[in-house]
Amino acid sequence: MNKPRVAFFDFASCEGCELQIANLEEEILDLIEIVEVVSFREVMKEHSDDYDIAFVEGSIMRPMDEERLKRIRSNAKILVAFGACATIGGVNKIRNQWQPEEVLRDVYGDVDLKGNKFFDVFKTKAVDEVVKVDYYIYGCPPPRDEIKKVITALVMGKKPEIPNYPVCVECKKNENVCLFELGKFCLGPITRAGCNAICPSNGRACDGCRGILSEPDTKCVEDILKRYNLTYDELKHRFTIFNYRREEER
């Protein structure tokens, strides 16, 4: 069997998703048994534009990002959006609350950045707002088990099966005390599972880093807030962290 040639790329992000691959530690040996890594700036010097599968981390912020991403798309047979910034825009979308000029002025002051392509920014986009994405690996960062699952599926010629049900399913199986009962607003009921409910299982409310599956009915949200004595602000705050796009569309 010819090993698929794999490349990793990053855009606006913390590169923590790629670090998850490096964190596979000794399992990396298994990984390179099944794929040939031809480009991975975080861990190697070599680079090649000849690859089958591209893993793209990060959000798209600038015309130059868009161009680069389109090049990657045209080189790759399969493109995988990798991590929250790539799949849903994630925390980078928080800044979409403001106009790009406002953000630049806020960060860099009155410096004239006109004509500097590095500072030519538009509103944050997820990868699939620019190019076609074949598969998604969700999460901030994506769970290593899911990364392995997607890679093995692609190598075996399968369509990766990513959960299409909410975190509550995994959280209940882990027999956690529901965070709502502890007075916390948790996005678990509407966030895509696959993380094995890692945050709620450790006492932290879900921030929705794997994306929202479906918008709850307004009446339902009101009932829940009332039942657990929570405020709309808490809900809005949680939504903004990873899912600002949704807020914007509302």
Binding site: T152, M156, E161, P166, E175, V177
Partner: protein, 638 residues
């Protein structure tokens, strides 16, 4: 009845913990809630608990359970069996009843040997309820006390624990680990009785309808506005089913190590509130709307399970109403709501479970090894595979039955058998490329190995069709299972036993017509008429059949002796109602129409829950149905 002082009871529990022969689990605190978990010391045991987050079903049908382990390079399969012996302490009566219900399901017809083994390896020490959970209505369900379903039953009456021996296993355990046990005194037994008698009054919530009457009420309330009102608030998180002691549906998936060398087949809890629950490989979802899924859960509890097993699948533990954030999952509120708003009731539903095989059979999740003997490409999407079982034993099946085709590392998919029964060890499958398993199957070559489980389900009773005129109506890959029956009937040794044969077959395009050469052979047989049609014929493609839907062929049929005509209809879901309308127009009676339906048949043995049409299992009572058996089921036809 026996008894132990509290001190001695704790000693008994500690003696159990000290015995390496088994693991001891009991009720422990987790924050302000309770869980069943391993006990390190008797001090941790909380017999005063109200309800645990998850029911003890997790010990018998674990959240994640490995069914098979395999080596992909060698195609060897090993069954994963847990031999561990366990004692579980503190199971409340409602959970004991739920476990007995689960036994009915998992020991029914096909005995699930994973479940059975766990059941046999477990000793259950029940406990009377000391604290009533706020959301529980177990007393209304008569599930607050119990007289069976335990090995030992303990009642904490203060300074003494009274113990009822339920089984020999329980007696042995007590004798070995609590030699200080004595006969209970009369006054102690009185105290237990009093405690049990005082329980119902402690429940704040009560049902306005007897559980025996749920079914009748629900049967008249299928279109009650309550379903829409409540389901609109449903988050579809399925927390209600996850925490339910009477929910037993599961999904099965294959997981492969990063080296792609080893793999496991795992089953895990699934929930019918989740949109993908009924999704099949081609993408079709059979319970599409939130309201359908929401209602299904209640009808399963109150109509489908009672019809099949004679009990209401709710014990009033209240776990679902604690877990449901918008608080719409509570069976008590829903049933009381239906009682209070009886005037708004509407929509009748009658579910009768078709009679099928009754003999008990132990079922294994291990597929039989088989070899691909021949592959024939039929169309762009379909290939025919001749499969031979490696054990060489004859493979008996009826036309219309299906097998679960297993590819290690990928999964299982239900596939109809397409060849007529021969009594040999080989058979043919025609497979459309739609999902992971079928895609992989299309990549395989002659002599490659696959796994087979089955045959499953109810096929056609070819004997019952003897002497009748037959009209076959097939749409698309509906021809695949139909071919098994047609080939059987048209076989020279069988042909004379059947009357006039008419075959109507509709495909999307001429390129998608299956078995073209065989169809030519069929046409040559005595008294056989075959009419083909396609939805559309692309430019440049040769086609001398009709253009139009399969129903457009009906005017061409020469009907003779309609009374004695039986119709066999197999096609995509959308096709049935139109074809059946045509048949009705021609005067064909409901009981003379047979259909074969497609659903998500994951386990094939009536356990996993995915393929249900209302309360009818397609994998067990189907896929072949007499139309009259299911025509009134709202979920049967679109």
């Amino acid at each position: 009845m026996k008894s132990l002082s509290k001190q001695d009871f704790l000693k008994f529990v500690n003696n159990l913990i000290a015995d390496d022969f088994f693991e001891v689990h009991g009720v422990k605190a987790k924050g302000k809630r309770f869980v069943f978990a391993p006990l390190d010391s008797a001090d941790e045991l909380r017999l005063d608990y109200d309800v645990t987050i998850l029911p003890p079903k997790k010990y018998f049908l674990p959240q994640y359970e490995t069914l098979l382990k395999y080596d992909l390079s060698k195609s060897t399969v090993a069954v994963e069996r847990e031999e561990k012996k366990r004692v579980i302490i503190g199971v409340h009566p409602y959970d004991l009843i739920a476990l007995q219900q689960m036994d009915k399901v998992y020991f029914d017809t096909y005995v699930d040997n994973f479940y059975r083994q766990r059941r046999e390896n477990t000793i259950i020490i029940g406990s009377d309820i000391l604290t009533v959970s706020e959301r529980s209505f177990a007393a209304s369900m008569n599930a607050h006390t119990v007289s069976s379903g335990y090995d030992l039953m303990v009642t904490d009456i203060g300074d003494t624990i009274v113990i009822d021996i339920g089984t020999e296993k329980g007696r042995d355990l007590l004798e070995k680990h609590a030699p200080m046990v004595r006969d209970a005194q009369e006054k102690e037994i009185k105290k237990v009785e009093k405690l049990r008698e005082s329980l119902p009054a402690k429940y704040k919530r009560s049902l306005k309808i007897e559980k025996e009457s749920w079914k009748k009420l629900l049967e008249k309330s299928y279109e009650h506005p309550i379903w829409k009102e409540l389901s609109e608030k449903c988050l579809q998180c399925s927390s209600c089913t996850m925490v339910c002691p009477t929910c037993y549906c599961f999904d099965v998936r294959d997981e492969v190590s990063l080296s792609t060398k080893e793999g496991t087949r795992i089953r895990t809890w699934d929930g019918c509130l989740l949109p993908d629950f009924t999704r099949i490989a081609s993408g079709e979802i059979f319970r599409k709307e939130k309201i359908d899924r929401f209602r299904h859960r209640f009808y399963r509890k109150g109509v489908y399970i009672p019809e099949r097993y004679n009990f209401v699948a709710c014990v009033g533990c209240g776990r679902c109403s604690i877990a449901c954030l918008p608080d719409i999952a509570d069976p008590l509120s829903v049933m009381n709501g239906l009682v209070e708003r009886k005037t708004e009731a509407g929509g009748e539903i009658v579910v009768e479970i078709p009679e099928t095989k009754k003999e008990i059979e132990e079922v294994s999740y291990v597929p039989r090894s088989a070899t691909i003997k021949r592959i024939e490409k039929l169309t762009e999407f379909e290939k025919l595979f001749e499969i031979e079982l490696d054990d060489g034993k004859p493979f008996y099946y009826e036309p219309g039955q299906f097998v679960e085709v297993s590819i290690l590392g990928v999964g299982e998919a239900p596939i109809s058998i397409s060849s007529p029964p021969t009594g040999g060890s080989s058979f043919e499958l025609v497979v459309r490329r739609v999902g992971n398993v079928t895609n992989k199957l299309h990549e395989l070559k002659v002599n490659d190995k696959i796994g087979i489980r089955g045959p499953f389900g109810r096929g056609f009773d070819a004997k019952a069709l003897e002497g009748r005129n037959l009209i076959f109506v097939a749409g698309g890959i509906g021809m695949v299972p139909m071919r098994s029956l047609i080939s059987f009937i048209l076989n020279d040794s069988n042909r004379d036993r059947y009357g006039m044969i008419t075959i109507l077959y509709g495909s999307k395009t001429p390129q998608e017509v299956l078995f073209r050469n065989e169809i030519e052979e069929w046409k040559k047989k005595k008294e056989v008429t075959v009419k083909l049609t396609v939805d559309k014929c692309p430019d440049g493609v040769c086609w001398n059949g009709c253009i139009g839907l399969v129903t457009s062929l009906f005017p061409q049929v020469r009907w003779r002796d309609v009374e004695n005509t039986v119709a066999i209809v197999i096609g995509p879901p959308i096709m049935y109602k139109f074809v059946i309308k045509c048949l009705h127009t021609m005067g064909v009676k409901d009981e003379n129409i047979y259909v074969s339906l497609e659903r998500r048949m994951k386990c094939g043995i009536g356990k996993c829950g995915h393929c249900q049409i209302n309360g009818v299992y397609v994998c067990k009572e189907g896929p072949v149905f007499n139309y009259s058996e299911i025509k009134d089921l709202p979920e049967a036809f679109e």
